[in-house]
C-alpha cells in the first residue's frame, strides 16, 4: 500500500473556496455548483451505473428463480381444476361448475344435496363434456376423494341420456354420487383458493362436517417423513463436521505443495458426477459388494450373514455424508488457512494445555466456517432426492422423494408445492434460529 498518509482526493471534483472569501460560505466546484449537490449527482450516477451492472443478474434471478418459485408456491393454495377451464389451444378461460358453486354458497355445509343441486351438477357436467374437461375436473376432486375421476368421465359420456329427476338419474348411474364425502370434496374444490393441500401435506383432511381431522393412520406418511428428513439431515451435517474438521485442519497447516495435492483428493470426488459417486457406493456396500466380499473372504463374516448396508438408512447416510463432505471441508479450510499459528503457540507458552488452547483459542476462530459449512450441508441434505431414491430402499426415503413423486408421477403439483413450501418454511426457521444463536454476519463461505 501507499506509505504516504495523504487523504485521497477525488481528482474529478476540483474543490475551490468561494470567490467571496467568506470562510463559512458554501463550498462549490470549479464550475460554480454547490459541492453537496455535485457530490450527490456524482453518487447518483455511480449508483445508477452499479445498478445497470447488476441489472442483468437481477432480471435473470427474477425470471428464472423468483417468478417460477413464486408461481409454484402459489399453486400450493390455488387450484382452478374445478372452477375455471382454460382451453389449451385458444387460451380461452371459461368458468365451470358455476351453478353448483352458487348452490354451495346458498346452502351451508352439511345440507343434503337436493334436486336443485343435482340439476346444477348435470349442467356443470354437460359443460365439462363440451369443453372436454371432465377428466381434469374429476382429477381435482380425486385429490380429495379417491375414485372420483372416473365418475366424472363416465357422467361426461352419459349426461345427455339422463332424464329428470336428476337425483335419481345420477344415483342410478353410480350410487357413489350420493356420497356426502364427494359433496364435501366438491364444496372444497369450488373455491380456487384452498388450504386442502397444506392439510394433506401434514396428514390432515376435512371431514364431511368441515372439521379438520387426522387422516386414516394407514395413510399417514408426510409428518413422519418430515421428521425423518430433519433427523437424518442433522445427523449427516454432524458426521460431515466430525470428518471434515481434521481434514480441513490438516490441509490448512501442511506446507502448500502437500496441501494442494491433498486438496485435489477433496475436490476430485466433488467434480465427479453425483450418480457415479452414488453408484460407486452401491458397488461397495451392497450385500454382494466389495466390503461384504472382503469381510467374507477374511473370515470375519459368514456368507449367510452378510451385512445389509445398502437400500436402508445406513446407505443413505453413508452416501450422502460422502457426497456432501466437500461442502464442509471447503468453508472450514478457508477460515483455518489464515489463522495465525502463533496464537496457539502464545496460549501454550502462557501455560494452557493443548486442549485448552484448542478450545479457547483455535476453535472459536473456526466457528464462522463451521456455521457456513453446517448451513450448506444441512440445506442441501434437506432437499436431496436422487441419492436416497437410489440407495435408500424402503426406510431411507426423505420428504423430497415424495415431492418428486407428486411432481413427476401423480402430477398433483399443488400437493408437491405445499410440501415444498413447508420444507422451505422449515429451512427459513432454522436459518432464523441460526441468525439468533450465532449471527448471520458471522458466516464465512470462503
Amino acid at each position: 500500500m501507499s506509505d504516504r498518509n495523504e487523504i485521497p482526493v477525488d481528482p474529478h471534483v476540483a474543490v475551490v473556496a468561494t470567490a467571496t472569501g467568506v470562510i463559512d460560505g458554501d463550498l462549490t466546484t470549479a464550475d460554480g455548483r454547490p459541492l453537496k449537490k455535485a457530490l450527490q449527482s456524482a453518487n447518483a450516477v455511480r449508483r445508477r451505473r452499479a445498478f445497470y451492472l447488476v441489472a442483468p443478474l437481477l432480471v435473470f434471478i427474477l425470471v428464472t428463480f423468483i417468478f417460477p418459485i413464486g408461481q409454484m408456491l402459489h399453486r400450493s393454495f390455488y387450484n382452478e381444476g374445478f372452477t375455471v377451464h382454460e382451453d389449451v389451444t385458444t387460451g380461452v378461460r371459461t368458468p365451470i361448475m358455476t351453478d353448483l358453486t352458487a348452490w354451495f354458497e346458498a346452502h351451508p355445509r352439511g345440507t343434503e344435496p337436493d334436486e336443485a343441486a343435482f340439476v346444477a351438477l348435470r349442467n356443470g357436467i354437460a359443460q365439462l363434456d363440451e369443453l372436454k374437461a371432465a377428466g381434469s375436473a374429476g382429477t381435482r376432486i380425486n385429490y380429495i376423494r379417491s375414485g372420483s375421476r372416473s365418475m366424472f368421465t363416465k357422467a361426461g359420456r352419459k349426461w345427455d341420456k339422463m332424464e329428470p329427476p336428476y337425483k335419481e338419474a345420477f344415483l342410478e348411474l353410480d350410487e357413489e354420487w350420493g356420497d356426502p364425502e364427494l359433496w364435501s370434496a366438491m364444496r372444497s374444490a369450488s373455491h380456487s383458493y384452498t388450504l386442502d393441500f397444506y392439510l394433506a401435506a401434514v396428514d390432515l383432511a376435512r371431514d364431511v362436517e368441515g372439521q379438520v381431522v387426522a387422516v386414516d393412520v394407514k395413510r399417514q406418511v408426510y409428518v413422519k417423513l418430515f421428521i425423518r428428513t430433519l433427523i437424518l439431515s442433522v445427523l449427516i451435517t454432524f458426521l460431515t463436521f466430525i470428518l471434515a474438521y481434521p481434514i480441513a485442519h490438516l490441509l490448512a497447516t501442511l506446507p502448500l505443495r502437500y496441501s494442494n495435492l491433498l486438496m485435489i483428493f477433496v475436490l476430485l470426488p466433488f467434480w465427479t458426477s453425483l450418480l457415479v459417486r452414488t453408484t460407486s457406493w452401491m458397488v461397495l456396500l451392497q450385500s454382494q459388494g466389495v466390503v461384504n466380499d472382503a469381510l467374507v473372504a477374511t473370515g470375519l463374516l459368514s456368507d449367510e450373514n452378510r451385512l445389509q448396508m445398502m437400500y436402508n438408512q445406513i446407505g443413505t447416510v453413508v452416501a450422502m455424508t460422502h457426497i456432501l463432505l466437500p461442502f464442509m471441508v471447503l468453508p472450514l479450510y478457508s477460515v483455518m488457512r489464515p489463522i495465525d499459528p502463533s496464537y496457539v503457540r502464545a496460549a501454550r507458552s502462557l501455560g494452557a494445555t493443548s486442549w485448552t488452547a484448542f478450545r479457547r483459542i483455535y476453535f472459536p476462530q473456526t466457528v464462522p466456517g463451521i456455521g457456513a459449512g453446517a448451513l450448506l450441508v444441512f440445506i442441501l441434505a434437506v432437499g436431496y432426492y436422487i441419492t436416497p431414491a437410489l440407495v435408500g430402499g424402503a426406510d431411507g426415503q426423505l420428504i423430497s422423494n415424495l415431492i418428486a413423486f407428486h411432481m413427476q408421477k401423480s402430477l398433483n403439483w399443488s400437493l408437491a408445492a405445499a410440501l415444498a413450501s413447508i420444507l422451505l418454511a422449515g429451512v427459513l426457521v432454522l436459518y432464523w434460529l441460526y441468525d439468533k444463536l450465532v449471527g448471520i454476519d458471522n458466516l464465512k463461505l470462503g
Binding site: 389449451v88 389451444t89 369443453l131 372436454k132 374437461a133 371432465a134 377428466g135 381434469s136 382429477t139 380425486n142 385429490y143 379417491s146 375414485g147 372420483s148 375421476r149 372416473s150 368421465t153 394407514k218 395413510r219 399417514q220 406418511v221 413422519k224 417423513l225 425423518r228 451392497q286 450385500s287 454382494q288 437400500y311 431414491a389 437410489l390 430402499g393 424402503a394 426406510d395 426415503q397 415424495l402 413423486f405 408421477k409 401423480s410 398433483n412
Partner: protein
Amino acid sequence: MKIKSILMASALAGVAGAALAESHGGQEVVMMSWGGAYGKSQEEAYNKPFTAETGIPVTMVDADNPATPLKAQVEAGNVSIDVADVEFSDAVRLCDEGLLEEIDPSILPPAPDGTPAAEDFIDGAIQDCAVANIVWSTVMAYNADAFTTAPDSIDDFFNLDEFPGKRGLRKTAKATLEMALMADGVPAGEVYDVLETEEGIDRAFAKLDTIKDSIVWWEAGAQPPQLLADGEVTMSTAYNGRIFNAAVAEGQPLEIVWDGQILDFDLFVIPKGAPHKDAAMQYIAFATDTQRLADQAKWISYGPARKSSGALVGLYQDGKTEMAPHMPTAAANLENALVNNFEFWVDMDAELNERFNAWLAQ
C-alpha cells in the same frame, strides 16, 4: 462454378422431391416414437413396408416420451407430427383433454381368417383415440443359478423358505399390489375388484408384509437385470424386454416366470390438427394389421396387440432364437395374465400410493 453446380443439383433435387411428394397427393406421414431398438423395430416392420406399398414416405422422429412434444405442439397450435406412439396412461389422458383425433375402429382391417378387428385385438387395445401396437409386461424373473428347482408360479415369489434370497420390486403401488393379490390366490380376472375394497388393499399389504424385510426396491427399468445378474436379489419383478435382452443378447442366466404377468400397451395416436390426418389413419390401419405386428417381434421381444399375429411371429434378428415363446402375448404366457386397468389407477393412484409410501415408512 462448383458452388453453382451444387446449387443447381440441390435445386433440382428439391424440385424432384416436391414432384415426388406431389405424385401421391403431397402426402407423407411424420411419425414420432421412442427411438432405440424399439424405434428400429417400427422402422423395419411398419414404415418401410408402408412406403413400399403406398408410396407415402414416412419420416421418423425420436422423443424421450412422445406425449410431451405432442401436447406442446397441439397447445401451441403448430402440429408437425401425424402419428405418435404413446403409453396407455398418456393416451387416455391426452384423449380426455381433447388433444387427440378420435380413431374409428372400423378402419382397422380384420384378421386373415376374417375375425373382426374389435375381437382380434386384446381387450383394451382399442381406445376412443388410440390403437395399441405392442404389449409389454411386468413379469417376475429369476436368476437360474440361484435355485436347483425352478420357480414356476407367482406364489414362489413370496415363498422365502423354498426359494431363499432377496426380492426385487418396483417402488410403486402399481403392479406391486396386483402381484401380491395374485400370489395370495386371487385370479387375474378378479384382482381389480378385490383391490377396490378396503379388505382387498389390506390383504395385498399383508401379503407384502411377509417378504418386506427381504425386498430390494428398484426404480429404473435397467436395475432389475443388474440386481439379478449381480446376485443382489434372486428374484425380481422386471420389464420383459429388459430380461429378454439380458438373457438372449448378453447371455445372462436369467429366466422369466410368466404366471401373474401384468400387461400394458403402447398405442398409436393422432394429434388434433395433424397435417396429414388421412395418411395417418391409413398408416395406423396398415401398421396394426396382423402381419405387420408379427413382423415387429423379429426386432424386439414385445408382443403384438392382435391375437392373430401370434402364430406368424418368427425368429429374432440373431436368426436362431424363436420369438414366439418370449412374447407376453403367447398363449402359454397368457394363462394367468392381468391387463393393467388404467381407469382403476387414475382413480386410486393417489390413495394407494399414499398408503404404499406410509407402509414403506413404517
